[in-house]
């Protein structure tokens, strides 16, 4: 991990909501921050090299592209096997996020989270079956939580 300084943070704050839609967007950012364009470009390349910038590009709105079925699938799997299983599930092409998170017993026994996205309920059901097949006997219980309403969504550091 690189050492990030205040200038890196300024660049992050100036660009996290989006890049300017002008022919020279990094020059526009530089001008706003009173830096040189070369410095902004070099720093952003370094941030990308160290994966502080995960990627640069278009972030589509799932719903507008027809992905209206977005389920948070949660699974109870043995802790000693979770890393190997999590990596397998994370490789599935319909999974957007896959994490190990803590259980809160007795209310919440699930420790593996995988977000799935489909254009129909049937598509999502097939995805869930695929995950269950991979987990096999290590699937000690699961649920799928569908969102019923977006209560708040800001662009800030959204995924």
């Amino acid at each position: 991990m690189p050492n990030l300084d205040e200038t890196d943070l300024k660049i992050m704050r100036a660009t996290q909501a989006g890049l300017p839609l002008t022919a020279r967007p990094y020059h526009a950012v530089a001008e706003q921050l009173e830096l040189s364009a070369v410095e902004v470009i070099e720093r952003m390349r370094r941030l990308q090299e160290f994966s502080v910038i995960r990627r640069i590009g278009a972030v589509p709105n799932h719903y507008k592209l027809g992905y209206r079925f977005n389920g948070m699938t949660v699974w109870n799997v043995p802790e000693e096997k979770i890393d190997a299983l999590g990596q397998k599930i994370g490789r599935l092409d319909f999974v957007s996020h896959c994490y190990h998170r803590p259980r809160h017993l007795p209310l919440w026994p699930y420790n593996l989270f995988a977000m799935v996205h489909g254009k129909s309920q049937e598509a999502v059901d097939r995805q869930i079956e695929q995950i269950a097949e991979i987990l096999g006997d290590d699937n000690l219980g699961s649920e799928v939580l569908y969102s019923t309403r977006i209560l708040k969504k800001t662009g800030f550091r959204s995924r």
Partner: protein, 147 residues
Amino acid sequence: MDEIDRRIINALQAGFPISERPYLEAAQALGLSEQELLERLGKLLQEQTLSRFGPLYDAEAMGGALTLAAMQVPEERFEEVAEIVNGFQEVAHNYARRHTLNMWFVLATETPQQLRDALDEIERRTGLTVYDMPKITEYFVGLKLEA
């Protein structure tokens, strides 16, 4: 959204250049003019087909803190509690979900201490338990959606 818009969305979900004329480079790869790409991106953002165009930062790598939290909110208090939770600028997303834990929100702050303070304050102001579920390990983040 037409066929050109679909090609733009499919091609530009990652790998946008960091260079002097990045839109020009991206446009050439798509067989478009720079001006047309800029106009189409502006329109896709305006009609919210794209929620954003630019860099996606790893908040934690920037020294920030991020967590997913859930609450069990009594139905009759749902709107009141949603208003309290949404009022926190640290809350980036908040979703109603069909479950005993029926409210799920993501908090993002610049420091871990601010995150703990916000979670405590939400508990204090709502009188409800907040179940904090920070990631222990990340196996994958990212997804290319076909337009």
